[in-house]
Amino acid sequence: MALILVVIFTACDIPIELDPEQTESIPVIEGLVTNTEGKSYVRITETVGFYFEGNIPYRDDALVSVTDDSGNVTLFQPYTGSMTDSLGYFLPPDGFKGETGRNYTLQVLLDGETFTASETMAPVSPIDSLATSIDVAESFDPEEEDRFWEVLLYAREPELTKDFYLFKFYRNDTLERAFENDIYIVDDLFLAVNINGIPVPFYFVEGDTAVVEMYGISNKAFVYFSDLQIALANDGGLFSPPPANPRTNFDRYTPGYFLVASVATDSIIIQE
């Protein structure tokens, strides 16, 4: 809301040097198990000081396993290749995927401590279709040249079940969002049965490929992403709630989350 004041009365901001309390770094564990092959992973990094510069330190010396509710244990191995972006990731053997309705437990043994989280894979209904259209208003004055195509999502939301969704949107294989701190989550409390063309929150250029991933997530995961979103968006203003760390599903505090979610994917090439 401070933003509204900013808009009206051109408030200004200047950099300020904080003197934060120095805290020990703690591990940040995030994991994903989905019903799609090649998408599951665990990543372990560490928290850093607020003014830290450079690449975030990662850990590859942990013992990582995922156990399903029939007792099948899958070991996740640290990535050892040459892509620096992938360091800190632990990957399952090829062919690993989860199943909707089954429970998975992640166990991470790190520095003699065990971090455990478990979750049941929520279902997701398929995306009916994607459609494209030109946003006429945007086409008169696009923020970036030729980016005025909208992608609209159509789906059915099961009325009788309680569902939560996380959306990820890709433009030409790159994950994108409208604003730096956006997370796209929905509670079906506010959704009608027919999702009748909800627009992807950013625009495309003719010829782009748009991909929409719709994850069916648990209530707990919804709470986590919602907390994270609020924490990221907190402007520290007088109207804002006091900032807090997100609530996670690990038994020992780490700011990450073990997400077990089924995913529905659809894509479209932008054209008339």
Binding site: P15, G49, F52, L191, P255
Partner: protein, 786 residues
């Protein structure tokens, strides 16, 4: 709790016995009014010098004094007015209305200060401040709009969270713990433009008083303070008015008699016109606010008076005709003052108050309308009984019906991807009886004691969910539902709220005062920010929320010097607040069907020292205030269950407020404020998550202090035609806000450092930035009175 009823019975019996013992006495009573406009004057001292006894007019300008037969001379004294002496032969009950004439002041406006000359020392009131509205008008103001709330924020014991807000924090209480009344009707959100201005239009304010402690038992319902604002009745002698053109808003006020001496009206409107400029500039986004005040009053005879007062105000925001929101208060007060006899004054009041807001999006696929409101109706009966000069009794009752509509989302378009959502309305009955007895014991000691007995009921119709663990807000497990019929009690709360004040005169010019009060708050603000938003909702005490309670003890030394020109006070207080309503970390407060799982009620305590020197008379007037205070909170589940400083815990607050009248034409004003930094929660570190979000890691709540706040403002008021006997008088007001252009901290936020093109750096390196709102801001306002 012990049954308080026998005590009240005792009181009523003793009231009659006082009546019996007073039979051989006669009463002088009546109203005291301003000679030129007929406005009743509140707090006028009526004093007999030889007996050294007296009384003062009540909130409606009525006085009554009962004495044995004889000849007496009374003085009627009031700041800004010439003393008037009246000699009466009291051998029967006499009714006498007094008209006081203004002192031949240089300033042409009526100076209404609602106080006797030496009230600072002699009055039993402690921890309360009256605002001189004329002084408020000549002080520097943001964008030239005089605002009583901005002056209140400078009083001792009051803290402001930052500039540009209409919230204030009294003795460690949060912003929702202030009961803000306009003509006795509560205002739920006093802000315009998110707090840049308050809803109080200075043109119509007659009198305003802030009670921070020793709160009379006729007031209740909030923990920390009562701001009682009363509007003018309208001139019943002749037509007149005022108009103003400012840089943000314009004002018009007209008043006049309906029948001379019998009835009058006042009407006032204020409207901002930023939106007109924006429209003219081709801007699609518009912002505006308005206020309308109206009052009619009628004196049927000396025994019966009727008033009807209305207020309506609203803020409207509109962005590109797609997204918009608005909020506003509406109040109506109907009042009947009746004299049962010369000593028993009755005030019967009917009050309606409404606060509502709406947000809407008109984009076709996502259109919705979100609305919420709170409505209440009150019946109030107040009695003042002037027993004899040594004893004064007030008693009464109040009954309120309150309806909270927490939120509805309506979808107009059947094709919409979103669905309607309605939260059930919540109902409550808020009842209280009260009494206050004031005794003079000897010539030095004045004691006032009393109590309020509040009975609050959360009633149906309602569906209440029960939970396996009502404090678990992630895996919420409902175990059942309780259904309540219309009017069926869900939960009720009976609370005795004792009040006590004492004044002891040390000398003619100095006194000590002590006060204790317990306050109970059954209406809880559902908000986790420091300053409430207009979009916050309220909830009654009920199945999951216990009444908030506070106990405050205050003591002070009061001294006047230089023929009452200089008023000094030093007060210390300690306050403990139980069941203060707070919320879990990461609480979801909007559209949450399981809202009760987010409630966390804790304890808060505050103590402080307040010093004030005030000068009310002469060319040079103003006050200096200094407050040292500390406010802590302890809430289960927050900050590892450890105490933490409240968001508004400023250790030092210093204010200097002054006006200087150079001559009839020129008046100058100056404010200076200093406040030590307020606490905020800053990150202890950061981490990367979900690919490339750079999130902050938090540890302690409110562990860091913002830089100190300080600011100086100047003003000048010029009345070019004051020498000439003209009906229409013009006046220029020049203001400079933040004279030395201090970049005062408003808030701190963090962000990923961006390059020159605004792209965030890929490593997620972050910086902290401080927002400051107002640079140096000059403004000009032109005012007319006619």
């Amino acid at each position: 709790m012990r049954n308080p009823v026998p005590r009240l019975l005792f009181l009523i019996i003793s009231l009659f016995s006082l009546e019996l013992s007073a039979q051989e006495k006669y009463t002088l009573s009546g109203y005291v009014r301003d000679e030129t406009n007929g406005e009743e004057l509140l707090g006028v001292t009526v004093y007999n010098d030889s007996l050294r006894i007296g009384t003062s007019t009540n909130l409606y300008g009525f006085y009554s004094i009962t004495l044995p037969p004889g000849s007496y001379t009374f003085s009627f004294q009031y700041i800004g007015y010439a003393d008037q002496f009246v000699t009466v032969q009291l051998d029967e009950n006499l009714s006498m209305n007094i008209k006081l004439a203004e002192e031949a002041l240089q300033m042409q406006e009526v100076v209404i200060t609602d106080r006797a000359v030496d009230a600072n020392v002699t009055d039993i009131r402690i921890s309360s401040n009256e605002l001189n509205i004329e002084q408020v008008k000549s002080l520097p103001a943001l964008f030239g709009e005089p605002d009583i709330i901005k002056t209140i924020q400078m009083l001792p014991g009051v803290i402001s969270a930052g500039e540009g807000t209409s919230s204030f924090f009294v003795r460690g209480g949060s912003a929702d713990q202030n009961l803000i009344l306009i003509d006795e009707a509560p205002i739920y959100d006093p802000s315009h433009l998110f707090g840049l201005f308050s809803v109080f239009n200075a043109d119509v304010i007659k009198d305003s008083e802030l009670y921070k402690g020793g709160i009379p038992s006729r007031y209740g319902g909030r923990l920390s303070s009562i701001l009682d604002v009363r509007t003018k009745d309208g001139n019943n002698q002749g037509f007149g008015g005022a108009a103003g053109i400012g840089s943000i808003a314009s004002r018009l006020m007209v008043e006049g008699p309906i029948v001379k001496d019998k009835g009058s009206f006042i009407f006032s409107g204020r409207r901002s016109y930023v939106d007109l400029f924006l429209k003219a500039a081709g801007e699609e986004n518009t912002v505006s606010f308005y206020d309308v005040n109206a009052k009619l009053n009628w004196r049927a005879n000396n025994k019966n008076r009727f008033f009807a007062a209305f207020y309506a105000g609203r803020d409207l925001f509109n962005f590109d005709d797609i997204f918009g929101f608005n909020w506003g208060n509406r109040t109506a007060t109907f009042r009947w003052n009746h004299l049962f006899n010369d000593r028993l004054f009755s005030n019967t009041t009917l009050i309606a108050s409404n606060f509502d807001y709406a947000l809407g999006l008109s984009d076709p696929t996502q259109a919705f309308d979100w609305t919420s409101d709170i409505v209440e109706y009150t019946f109030k009966q107040d009695m003042s009984y002037f027993v004899d000069p040594q004893n004064f009794i007030e008693f009464g009752l109040q009954s309120t019906y309150r309806n909270f509509a927490p939120g509805t989302i309506e979808i107009d378009d059947p094709e919409s991807s979103f669905r309607e959502f309605r939260q059930d309305n919540i109902f409550a009955l808020d009842n209280a009886i009260y009494f206050d007895v004031q005794h003079n014991i000897g010539s030095r000691l004045l004691i006032k004691w009393g109590s309020r007995l509040s009975y609050f009921v959360n009633i149906g119709e309602a569906t209440v969910f029960t939970y396996e663990d009502p404090q678990e807000n992630v895996n919420i497990v409902r175990t059942g539902t309780l259904e309540f019929d219309k009017w069926e009690p869900i939960e009720d709360f009976l609370n005795l709220e004792p009040r006590f004040s004492m004044r002891y005169m040390l000398t003619d010019k100095s006194s000590i005062k002590v006060a204790y009060n317990r306050m109970v708050q059954n209406t809880h603000l559902i908000a986790s920010g420091t300053v409430p938003l207009p979009f916050n909702t309220w909830q009654p005490s009920g199945y999951y929320l216990d009444p908030q309670k506070s106990d405050l003890i205050a003591g002070g030394y009061f001294r006047n010097a230089f023929d009452n020109q200089l008023e000094m006070s030093a007060e210390a207080y300690y306050k403990i607040m139980n069941n203060v309503t707070d919320f879990a970390d990461n609480a979801t407060l909007f559209f949450n069907e399981d809202l009760p799982v987010e409630f966390r009620q804790g304890t808060s305590w505050s103590y402080g020292l307040e010093l004030m020197v005030q000068k009310q008379k002469g060319d040079f007037t103003g006050f200096v205030s200094y407050t040292w205070s500390k406010t802590m909170r302890e809430v289960p589940g927050i900050n590892f269950d450890d105490p933490f400083p409240a968001n508004y815990d400023r250790r030092h607050s210093f204010n200097f407020v002054s006006t200087y009248e150079l001559n009839k034409k020129w008046t100058f004003g100056m404010n200076f404020n200093y406040g030590s930094g307020r606490p905020v929660t800053i990150p202890a570190g950061r981490y990367e998550i979900e690919g490339n979000y750079s999130a902050n890691l938090y540890t302690r709540r409110n562990g860091y202090r913002l830089p100190a706040y300080h600011r100086m403002d100047l003003s000048a008021t010029f009345r070019p035609g004051v020498d000439r006997e003209k009906r229409i008088q013009g006046q220029w007001s020049f203001s400079i806000y933040n004279v030395y252009n201090r970049k005062n901290p408003f808030s701190i936020f963090t962000q990923v450092i961006e390059d020159d093109e605004g792209n965030p750096n890929p490593e997620g390196n972050k910086e902290a930035r401080m927002i400051y709102i107002f640079p140096i801001l000059p403004s000009i306002t032109y005012n007319l009175t006619f």
